[in-house]
């Protein structure tokens, strides 16, 4: 730790959740028609995109489509969703309890740990290199009170903790980091990446810039191939955060991944953000993070011993407090109320 005091700790803006009304409608019908009292965890899909307005962050959003479809429906829906640039999918898991008591009795810490373990294992197995979206894995616990049409819930976005934390050497708008020629090429390359349906929803990537200022966006798995000839190599991610001085949450697991997979101590990262759907380098950030040697060594130890899982954080706060959220949809779900409002 000595000598690091002068450098600020790299702080990440927590991911924020948003649940569409349709999600609760479909969960209710799944619960009533299919699940019954079966409370085994359900795999779900969340959606997010880079921040698109300088005033608001993007959210990890749950829609009706986040839940598995009921058997009567076609499975073709899932294939249509892919490639939508405004919906990068992140895998999640839902623990829906049968009682409010059960909801409050959930051991949140061990559930978070279990999800962090999955992230860690996907890094270890190389799976995260192939399908980077799994670095943004999330967890939702809920209690659906179908008598009162209210839903209690709490999100977690598990992040592996680097100990000691990474420090920040530099952070500035991308437009100040790149030369004018580089910036033009970076914008063009990112827009191509976002416009191609095969890469539009791939939220982590490599940005390489050759000595003649030509930028290329590549998949994470091409890291080896980028080791010669390139002048600059940055690790990019779709940043849901809008803040000018902090990168968003997805960078945390990306750094843990970089640190353990490629044993890098010093990395340049690129927080990709948009304006009106196009790359905005004045709004995007480029930073340089330093991860200390003991960190890398500690992670290396973990690398050799997959049983060792780094500690994790990530439960979402509700307006600054550690309380679950609650939404009442009686107005749109309660048949009595619907009948009254229709009369």
């Amino acid at each position: 730790m000595a000598g690091h005091e002068s450098r600020p700790v790299l702080q990440f803006a927590p991911f924020q959740s948003s649940v569409d009304e349709g999600f609760w409608h479909r969960l209710s019908s799944l619960k009533l028609n299919k699940l019954g009292i079966d409370d085994s965890p359900i795999p779900i899909t969340g959606f997010y995109a880079p921040s698109a307005h300088p005033q608001v962050s993007n959210y990890l959003t749950l829609l009706a489509e986040s839940l598995p479809t009921e058997p009567c429906e076609q499975s073709s829906v899932a294939t249509v969703i892919r490639g939508n640039r405004n919906r990068c999918s992140a895998p999640g898991i839902l623990y829906n309890t049968n009682t409010l008591e059960g909801f409050h009795a959930i051991d949140k810490q061990s559930l978070l740990k279990a999800e962090a373990k999955k992230v860690w294992e996907s890094i270890h197995s190389g799976e995260a290199e192939e399908d980077s979206a799994i670095l943004s894995r999330f967890l939702l616990i809920s209690f659906a009170d179908l008598k009162k049409w209210s839903f209690h819930y709490c999100f977690a976005f598990p992040a592996l903790v680097l100990d000691p934390p990474a420090t920040l050497l530099d952070l500035r708008p991308a437009s100040q980091y790149f030369s004018i020629q580089e910036a033009e090429s970076v914008s063009a390359a990112c827009n191509d990446w976002r416009n191609s349906s095969s890469t539009a929803d791939v939220p982590f990537f490599l940005l390489s810039i050759s000595s003649n200022s030509h930028a290329t966006v590549r998949h994470l798995k091409d890291w080896e191939a980028c080791q010669h000839g390139e002048q600059k190599l940055l690790f990019g991610f779709y940043d849901p955060c809008h803040l000018p001085n902090n990168p968003g949450w997805p960078l945390r697991n990306l750094l843990a991944f970089i640190c353990s997979r490629w044993k890098l101590e010093k990395v340049h990262f690129f927080c990709y953000r948009e304006n009106r759907g196009f790359a905005d380098l004045g709004f995007s950030l480029v930073g340089e993070a330093l991860m200390s040697v003991p960190q890398v060594e500690r992670l290396m130890k973990g690398w050799e011993d997959p049983q060792h899982i780094p500690s994790a954080v990530g439960w979402e706060l509700n307006r600054g407090k550690k309380v679950p959220r609650c939404i009442s949809l009686a107005k749109s779900m309660d048949p009595t109320r619907l009948a009254i409002s229709a009369a």
């Binding site: 700790v9 990440f12 349709g22 608001v56 990474a166 759907g277 959220r325 229709a342």
Partner: protein, 314 residues
């Protein structure tokens, strides 16, 4: 919902079921769109303004006359930094044109603000008791209790359950309380950034697009329709903007009623043609969204203005 509105909905639904969709273009003559033209205009919107995308919606609400993967258009998480109502007050205070209240609705314009009312500028600058109270303890607590007051009656207070679990997250790398450091107007301590999901559906009866609003508060919790009406131009709230069932999504949403859309679009198209601009049908939604912006002036959705409105002769 008013009974007459219900009857109309039922009537409209029946007409929609028994009539064939429009196939002949009447875009220039009536300001309306055929289904194919709606798809063409929607594709163009999605390609020029990529924050918009096509959606499937609820499978059981799917309209067979629209392609399965192009049921409606949506742009999510659009910021709304100020309430339309407060913007109008400022405009009036600044001496803008004001439509004076009139029972017969043949309102006339006052061009230098509202005629003097009892309230003078000095009085307006006096802080009210509410703002004093908020600024006195402008901490996390005061803001959450402020929001707490807005809460639905039947939502139980979860504060009693706080800290029953053993989650202790002290982590130096987590940025604390981000929602407080969001960009907010500096002149007060109240967080006002709402966000909206704005969707455009095709209304088969009126043969025009129709706009729907789903509002969320600062922590992305659903707004009640009453709150949504604060973000609608007050000339339109509860008149042209109504709360109805969304044709593709569950729940009640605010919508700009499409009964006058064709006529308004026809007017806009006529103005363009009189200037020698030949309007193209694939730009219909840009014109349409520009017109909708007068109804929801503070919701900053994208309809990129810097496009050429067709082949201009000027």
């Amino acid at each position: 919902m008013v009974l007459s509105q219900k009857f109309h909905e039922a009537f409209k639904g029946t007409v929609e079921r028994i009539t064939n969709p429009r196939t002949v273009s009447a875009f220039k003559e009536k300001g309306v769109l055929s289904i194919n033209e709606f798809i063409v205009a929607g594709d163009n919107l999605v390609s020029k303004c990529p924050t918009w995308s096509w959606e499937l919606g609820e499978p059981n609400k799917r309209k067979s006359y629209l392609p399965m993967e192009k049921q409606f258009l949506i742009t999510r998480n659009v910021p709304c930094l100020r309430r339309a109502a407060s913007v109008e007050e400022e405009y009036e205070a600044a001496g803008g044109e004001v439509l004076l209240e009139n029972e017969d609705n043949d309102g006339w314009l006052a061009t230098h603000g509202k005629p003097k009312e009892t309230k003078s500028d000095d009085e307006e600058n006096l802080p009210s008791m509410e703002t004093i109270e908020i600024s006195k303890n402008n901490t996390i607590q005061s803001i959450s209790s402020y929001f707490g007051g807005e809460e639905e009656d039947d939502i139980p207070d979860m504060a009693g359950y706080e800290e029953v679990d053993n989650v202790i997250e002290t982590d130096a790398a987590t940025l604390q309380s981000t929602y407080l450091v969001a960009h907010e107007p500096d002149d007060d301590n109240i967080l006002r950034t709402r966000t909206y999901d704005v969707s455009i559906t095709y209304d088969k009866y009126y043969q025009t697009p129709r706009v729907w609003l789903t509002g969320y508060d600062e922590s992305r919790m659903l707004l009640t329709p009453e709150n949504v009406l604060e973000d609608v131009s007050q000339d339109h709230a509860r008149k042209t903007v109504t709360i109805e069932d969304h044709p593709h999504l569950p729940g009640k949403h605010a919508s700009v009623h499409p009964c006058r859309h064709g006529a308004v679009m026809k007017k806009i198209i006529d103005v363009l043609m009189s200037r020698g601009v030949e309007p193209e049908v694939d730009k219909y939604l840009f014109l349409f969204l520009k017109f909708v912006a007068s109804v929801i002036p503070t919701i900053e959705y994208d309809y990129t203005l810097d496009f050429d409105l067709g082949s201009s002769s000027t």
